[in-house]
């Protein structure tokens, strides 16, 4: 086992948690990510392999699914982001490649992204200040890739009062600042 200590996207030893008014903002670090993109003409084969091996049925455009411990978010034509807990699936990309074989290009994305989970009853008030996504009509299970604070992000509606945001890791501080500012604004 290596001796290198991880830090969080916000550069902390432990993940950050903020409570502002009814809103909680949680820095999520226990998440591994791997992108899968179907090789030419192999989309069906790839999707079948993932369904057979880990019960993951890849979602339609604009959606995400969960088949615990795995999840998948639609990214683009024939391309998805697979999620799993980091502590138990740090080598998620290798796992997925093992399953998909030559039907897919798999790329480790774990540390390309930071994730914040925002929860609370004021969720829509907060997100309509940050994103053009139609948050009030966005059903649980939908996932939209759009901009927030000038950053390309995924908004993943997990529940009526729970949204996950995936954003470029290097800009975690700016995104967190934006989330906190918006939460104070509506608190």
């Amino acid at each position: 086992m290596h001796n290198l200590k991880a830090i969080t996207p916000l550069r902390g030893v432990t993940p950050r948690l903020d409570h502002i008014g009814t809103i909680s903002i949680t820095e999520v670090v226990d998440q591994a990510l791997a992108s899968v993109a179907a090789r030419k003409g192999q989309s069906a084969v790839m999707q079948q392999a993932l369904a057979d091996h880990i019960g993951l049925h890849l979602p339609e455009p604009g959606h995400a699914v969960i088949a615990a411990p795995f999840g998948a978010i639609w990214m683009g034509p024939d391309q998805w982001m697979i999620t799993a807990p980091h502590d138990s699936h740090e080598l998620l990309a290798s796992e997925v490649k093992e399953i998909a074989g030559r039907s897919a290009s798999v790329v480790e994305q774990t540390d390309g992204w930071c994730r914040f989970d925002v929860a609370g009853v004021g969720l829509c008030d907060l997100f309509e200040r940050l994103s053009n996504a139609p948050v009030r009509t966005m059903a649980p299970g939908s996932a939209i890739r759009t901009t927030m604070e000038h950053l390309g992000v995924f908004l993943w509606r997990l529940a009526d009062d729970h949204m996950a945001i995936l954003a470029p890791r290097s800009a975690a501080g700016s995104l967190h600042h934006g989330l906190v500012a918006a939460a104070r604004s509506i608190a």
Partner: protein, 98 residues
């Protein structure tokens, strides 16, 4: 503007990057007889109509699809939106059929 993405539905044009005339898909054959003049025309001679125009938009803050958007440049009415990948496949299919 709102661009009706073929896969994702209506999305704000702010999420897109504009490139220009969709004829950029029709790249000439580098080995054809008058390649130099073909490439010259391909690169420098673009239509800029006041009216219907087929143009390339990139969903950079979205799914990274290149789209061919047919838009009226006077009214901004958008008449159709296609995945450029599909358009390009049709172009190459047409080419190999020749």
């Amino acid at each position: 503007m709102i661009i009706d993405h073929p896969l994702l539905g209506p999305r704000d044009a702010q999420e897109f990057t504009y490139l220009g005339d969709a004829s950029l898909i029709n790249r000439p054959d580098w080995q054809c007889e008058n390649a130099l003049s073909e490439f010259h025309d391909y690169l420098y001679l673009r239509d800029n109509p006041a009216g219907e125009h087929r143009e390339l938009w990139y969903h950079e803050q979205g799914d990274r699809s290149w789209l061919v958007v047919t838009r009226n440049t006077v009214t901004h009415e958008i008449l159709s939106v296609e995945l450029a990948h599909d358009v390009a496949k049709a172009v190459t299919a047409g080419r190999s059929a020749k």
